[in-house]
């Protein structure tokens, strides 16, 4: 019998994710969509904001210059959807990352330091939690004056709460463990204990919740752009493309279906991946 090489928990967990077929298919589909959005527009000689006045509201014709037709300004639908995807995906992943990092640090400090600091920090979180999330995003969007960056800031500002609460609980239990005690006895300063012992031990929880944040951010972005509060024309995003599609849907459904299906596909994939991660990292769930 051959002795197996020792494995870290993390690599074991990732092997479990790889065994989950649905999650793996989702990863590949998502990767394909991302590549398409970032590379696809370069295959066309025009951008999504260029109007082609000879082909206004052109129908689907896969072998023409506009494979999925144009909108009522003569802008290529496929290129617009792909460019909109860039914005939505970028906000989704970056937003989740930034919100995750803020949440982890806040939660780790709060849970580890404990006492009055913890009390105060958690009271602040509690108050923010009581706010209607989407309302807060809309208000902050107004405050920052609209645009991509404003939207991003507003979403991040409202989404770091959940990771913070989860990491705090984890950090609290870690702070009582022997190895942290040992580090403290050895004279390690607090910030270093947080950085080298608390944060790395929260990684698996954060991965699971971080993966749930991504679809949430993407959904918020498209929600706001759909209402006309987020990303505005002429810049494309899935939200405002879907909005344009709904107002024209009775005559031309493709304007709604193409961005809608792409958004739904991405959300499906992200949810399946998040499920797969949760099953792998937290086997008690099933």
């Amino acid at each position: 019998m051959k002795a197996e090489a020792p494995q870290s928990t993390l690599s074991l967990q990732f092997r479990r994710v790889r065994a989950n077929r649905l999650a793996m298919v989702s990863v590949w589909v998502l990767l394909a969509v991302v590549l398409m959005c970032y590379l696809g527009p370069y295959a066309f000689p025009f951008t999504g904001e260029d109007a082609d006045f000879d082909n206004i509201s052109a129908p689907i014709d896969l072998f023409s210059a506009h494979p999925f037709g144009t909108d009522d300004y003569g802008r290529d639908l496929l290129v617009r959807v792909l460019e909109g995807g860039r914005v939505s995906l970028a906000i989704g992943f970056l937003g989740a990352l930034v919100a995750g990092v803020i949440g982890v640090l806040y939660g780790a400090v709060s849970g580890f330091v404990g006492g009055r600091v913890d009390n105060l920090m958690m009271r602040a979180v509690e108050v923010l939690y009581g706010f209607p999330y989407i309302i807060l995003v809309i208000l902050l969007g107004l405050l920052f004056g609209g645009g991509t960056l404003a939207l991003f800031a507003a979403i991040v500002f409202t989404l770091w709460l959940t990771p913070a609460v989860i990491v705090r609980a984890q950090a609290q239990s870690l702070a009582k463990r022997e190895f942290v005690e040992a580090a403290r006895a050895g004279g390690m300063p607090n910030w270093q204990i947080i950085w080298t012992h608390i944060v790395p031990n929260c990684v698996s929880v954060v991965i699971v919740y971080g993966s749930l944040l991504v679809p949430e951010v993407i959904l918020s972005e498209s929600f706001l752009s759909f209402l006309g509060i987020g990303i505005k024309e002429p810049q494309a995003s899935w939200g405002n493309l879907i909005q344009a599609g709904t107002s024209a849907m009775e005559t031309d459904l493709r304007l709604l279906l193409l961005p809608g299906m792409l958004l739904a596909t991405v959300l499906f994939c992200l949810n399946f991946i998040a499920d797969g991660l949760r099953d792998a990292f937290d086997p008690n769930e099933r």
Partner: protein, 307 residues
């Protein structure tokens, strides 16, 4: 129980106060005002308008006036709909929003718990898969895609329900309520299923079964009581999801509720109306969180001592 209740009410009050303050200052700092239009108006008219809406006072005085108004239940005049106060507008829109929200949460709980039960009792049977599919669709496909598609199919093609508006009695409620309930059906059924499965494995359930209690009685008395706790805890987030959803639904189905007023107000920088509706939404959310906490505290004594 009493200190627990008092503490929750106090923290809800604090949240509402913080929300009012934050909203006020965000709106004050936001660029552009309700009267900064392209059209040029003479400085005298501008000054008169600003005086009428007290925009010429120092900020702290405006804030004091606003808070005093809230305390008296007066949310001030709307800057977009002249001659209407924010109170009038909210009073006209709130009944529609409440009706839709009430039916949506009722449908979502009944269908969601039903689907979750069906899934947990016959794991991996066809009902489980059907419930799982509904769940995945409800979570992943945003309602601003499902809503328009439902309109197109059920209203335009089949003609069963009106496309929008509120002029057709219960028929105009069907589509908005179903679409609004769908994401919550998805969450509630998933939550019910996993929590039931977990509870059914527990020792006290096995014991009661071993004692010879019938399967129905075990289910009702020993499984459901414990398994419903996480579902009840979801009520708070569900209320938040309903608020988000109702803003969309009212826009998609052209319903005269406060969600549509809110979007309209935000786009037109009608700050008093934005603040008023924010407070109404915030109040509802806080009330729902409070009710959820109380319900959980009543069902599970451990919650009362969490602090």
């Amino acid at each position: 129980m009493f200190p627990f209740v008092a503490k929750r009410i106090w923290s809800g009050f604090l949240t509402l106060a913080a929300l009012a303050t934050l909203t006020f200052f965000i709106m004050r700092l936001a660029p552009g005002g309700p009267f900064s239009r392209n059209r040029k108006i003479s400085p005298e008219v501008q000054a008169n308008i600003e005086a009428a809406f007290h925009l010429d006072e120092p900020v702290w005085q405006q804030f004091g006036r606003y808070i005093w108004g809230i305390v008296r239940g007066d949310l001030g005049p709307s800057t977009r709909f002249r001659d209407y106060s924010v109170n009038d507008l909210i009073a006209s829109g709130l009944p529609y929003s409440l009706t839709i929200g009430f039916w949506a949460i009722l449908v979502a709980s009944l269908v969601g718990i039903g689907l979750g039960l069906a899934g947990a009792l016959r794991r991996n049977g066809w009902t489980d898969y059907a419930a799982g599919t509904v769940g995945v669709i409800g979570i992943a496909v945003p309602i601003f895609i499902i809503g328009p598609l439902a309109q197109l199919y059920f209203s335009v093609h089949l003609g069963w329900f009106p496309v929008g508006g509120m002029n057709d009695g219960w028929r105009s409620l069907v589509l908005p309520v179903l679409v609004l309930a769908l994401p919550n059906i998805a969450y509630i059924s998933r939550l019910t299923r996993s929590s039931l499965i977990e509870t059914m494995r527990e020792n006290h359930v096995r014991t009661s079964r071993a004692k010879g209690i019938g399967p129905w009685l075990v289910m009702v008395r020993h499984v459901m009581t414990g398994a419903m706790l996480p579902v009840v805890a979801y009520l708070g987030p569900a209320a938040a999801a309903l608020i988000t959803g109702s803003i969309l639904i009212e826009t998609v189905f052209a319903l005269p509720g406060i969600g549509r007023f809110f979007v309209d107000a935000a786009l037109n920088r009608d700050y008093p109306l934005v603040m008023g509706i924010t407070l109404v939404y915030g109040g509802f959310l806080i009330l729902f969180n409070l009710l959820t906490d109380l319900l959980r505290g009543w069902m599970d004594p451990r919650v009362r001592h969490e602090g």
